[in-house]
């Protein structure tokens, strides 16, 4: 090890107690960033998985123009059955696609006895729906199955409004493309909780076959994909879009993050909070250790003046003092890294109970994710804060003329 580094290291541990306190302050700040970031990331991940495996899937494919205009003219933006089959064949050929299913959304009235309740229907393929509803909790009854083409699953709120329970019979009424009123009888097969109150209050899941009878056509509104890995969404999307163009399919795609509005709002809010917290923790670290660094430099006034007298340039002494701060920051951040990861592991093992988030219907048990990017950011911020804390004391010390500094103390 070079003499320069040896000197820097030995200077750090001149006043051990003060150094340990400074290291503890940096470590606490670093650990706080890791744990807070991990908590927030865990919430984001839960929300993301809820959105993907509860409602949106990873990618959705529609007829071009659907996203902008389907509300004004829903029939115009439906996929022909042949188109849907062609799309399904293409997407299922991609090994990164875990599942692909057809869906169609519609609305109408559901009646049970003398109760008439409006609903938002989602026509699904029963054999595929379980995988797409992993984050949906079945509160009563059983999941949809291909063997029961006229079964239906009601959201928790909708079931309450209907006073419905599994086994109850109900009638779905809606208008067909031609404007005629049509109805089918279904049996309430189960009650689910998707987690979002709005969703649970209005949603009814019905097998696609039954909906074809109800709407008197076999069009599909969207093809929904589940991928093996969420991180592959952009790559899969780009390749599928190219494949659809090659096949002359005039379709558009949306990814889960474009559709999950609730997730995006929460990420926006907490993301800002996380940035503010980083700033606050960084400031606390700067203020907390700035004093320790300032004291350590002030105590060495004569020594620093001696070094300058011996011919060391200001920049060499600044480099020495910054190296000391850098090493202190690195040691503190490493300690904080270990502390933060340990706290995250313990907290995840125990589980953190959360109440229902705004707009959600169920509490959940969260954890603290150890996210490499967050850990790296916390490490860098801790070191940067330590260096920042050193800048003013160093600047002050270097501005002092040598001769009076030699007489100091």
């Amino acid at each position: 090890m070079s003499l320069f580094l040896r000197l820097a290291l030995r200077n750090i541990f001149r006043n051990r107690i003060r150094t340990y306190i400074a290291l503890l302050a940096i470590a606490a700040g670093c650990a706080a960033l890791i744990v807070n970031g991990g908590v927030v990331f865990n919430i984001f991940r839960e929300l993301r998985e809820d959105a993907i495996h509860g409602r949106q899937g990873h990618l959705q494919i529609y007829k071009r123009g659907y996203s902008d205009a389907h509300l004004e003219d829903p029939q115009r933006y439906l996929l022909e059955p042949e188109q849907a089959q062609k799309i399904l064949a293409i997407v299922r050929a991609d090994p990164r696609v875990l599942r692909a299913t057809s869906r169609r959304e519609f609305s109408g009235l559901i009646s049970k006895g003398d109760r008439y309740v409006p609903f938002l229907g989602v026509a699904v393929e029963p054999e595929q729906d379980t995988e797409f509803s992993r984050h949906t909790t079945l509160r009563a009854g059983e999941a949809l199955s291909a063997s029961n083409p006229y079964g239906a699953l009601a959201g928790l709120g909708l079931a309450r409004k209907l006073d419905g329970k599994p086994g109850d019979e109900a009638t779905l009424m809606t208008t067909t493309e031609s404007g005629a009123l049509n109805a089918v009888h279904v049996r309430l097969q189960g009650v689910f909780e998707g987690g979002l109150k709005e969703y649970d209050d209005w949603t009814l899941k019905v097998p696609l076959g039954a909906v074809e009878h109800l709407l008197l056509d076999n069009h599909v509104e969207q093809i929904v994909l589940l991928l093996r890995n969420t991180e592959e969404v952009p790559a899969v999307r780009a390749q599928l879009e190219a494949a659809f163009r090659r096949e002359g399919l005039d379709v558009e795609m949306r990814s889960w993050d474009q559709l999950a509005l609730f997730h995006n709002q929460v990420v926006g809010l907490f993301g800002r909070e996380l940035s503010i917290l980083r700033l606050i923790i960084g400031t606390i670290v700067v203020l907390g250790i700035g004093n320790a660094i300032g004291m350590s430099i002030m105590e060495r006034t004569v020594e620093l003046a001696t070094l300058r007298t011996l011919g060391l340039r200001v920049r060499a002494i600044v480099a020495l003092l910054l190296t000391e701060s850098l090493l202190t920051g690195m040691m503190g951040a490493t300690l904080g890294l270990a502390l933060g990861i340990a706290v995250a592991r313990v907290a995840s093992a125990i589980g953190i109970p959360y109440p229902s988030p705004p707009g959600s219907t169920r509490p959940f048990i969260g954890g603290v994710d150890v996210v490499p990017a967050i850990v790296a950011t916390a490490f860098v911020i801790s070191i940067a804060a330590t260096l920042a804390a050193a800048i003013f004391p160093i600047w002050k010390a270097m501005r002092r003329p040598i001769a009076p500094a030699l007489r100091h103390g």
């Binding site: 011919g311 340039r313 001769a403």
Partner: protein
């Protein structure tokens, strides 16, 4: 241009200070011819001159609380000299050494070290001059407590890129040998006696092969015997290496060993002996 302007500003500032202080100011402005080396000698010895000061003034502070530490010092030191700077406390010895070493700048006057005018040099150039051409010995040795004796001696050499690691090591060993600390190279300063610390400080000053060593009261904190030993060591190194030594002292015994004694009182050179 900038240097000339700075020098002019400095002169104006000094004149303003002198005007503000009436008689004291007038005395400061008048060159102290009687106290300088004879003109003819100076001309003859110019090529041999390593330190040359002309009419050096150093004023600290402004206004009523200001004080003049040096009042028109003109002097010259020949290469290889062993000069004592004598005078009571507060006479300006340290201020003068600081100015000669480029640690401080005079309020007025010219300092030349090996014919280089320090007024024209930037701080970084002064640092380089100190690193390569001037060694410093402090009253308290001022060793870095967390470094061993050898590391203390090596430290300034670390910043001289032209000196290889091997040469650094060799120089440290040689210089420690020459001051009698070869056996204590790995010791920390706290475990050394006062005399040993001062010898380590001397080794640090000499390791870079300076032309001048400036020592500020090097024996003030030592007992008579140790102080005398340190001075003897300085004198013998002066003879062996030809290094110029200029040291301040108020101890008559320390003055006795010098080739020449320059006496300072109230910031003025009073007389020269030796």
């Amino acid at each position: 241009m900038t240097t000339r302007k700075a020098a002019r500003d400095n002169r104006f500032a000094s004149k303003a200070i002198c005007r503000a202080y009436g008689n004291g100011g007038a005395a400061v402005m008048r060159p102290l011819q009687a106290l300088s080396i004879h003109e003819s000698d100076a001309l003859r010895q110019r090529n041999d001159s390593i330190i040359r000061l002309e009419n050096i003034h150093r004023q600290f502070g402004v206004g009523a609380g200001s004080c003049a530490a040096l009042r028109g010092i003109t002097m010259e030191v020949r290469r290889g000299g062993f000069i004592a700077l004598a005078g009571p406390s507060g006479s300006g010895k340290t201020s003068l050494l600081n100015i000669i070493g480029g640690v401080d700048r005079p309020s007025w006057g010219s300092v030349r070290i090996e014919e280089r005018d320090l007024a024209t040099m930037r701080d970084a150039e002064l640092s380089d001059l100190r690193l390569r051409r001037i060694g410093f010995v402090f009253q308290d040795a001022n060793l870095i407590p967390v470094l061993s004796v050898a590391e203390n001696v090596e430290l300034p050499l670390l910043f001289r890129s032209e000196i290889s690691v091997a040469e650094r090591t060799s120089r440290v060993s040689q210089v420690l040998e020459s001051v009698g600390l070869a056996g204590k190279a790995e010791r920390r300063p706290e475990s050394l006696s006062g005399g040993e610390r001062q010898r380590a400080g001397l080794a640090r000053a000499l390791a870079g092969g300076p032309a001048i060593v400036l020592a500020d009261e090097p024996t003030a904190n030592l007992d008579q015997e140790t102080g005398a030993a340190v001075l003897q060591l300085m004198r013998s190194l002066n003879r062996q290496r030809g290094t110029t030594f200029l040291y301040s002292t108020h101890d008559p015994q320390s003055m006795a060993i010098a080739e020449k004694v320059l006496r300072l009182r109230d910031g003025r050179l009073e007389e020269m002996a030796g």
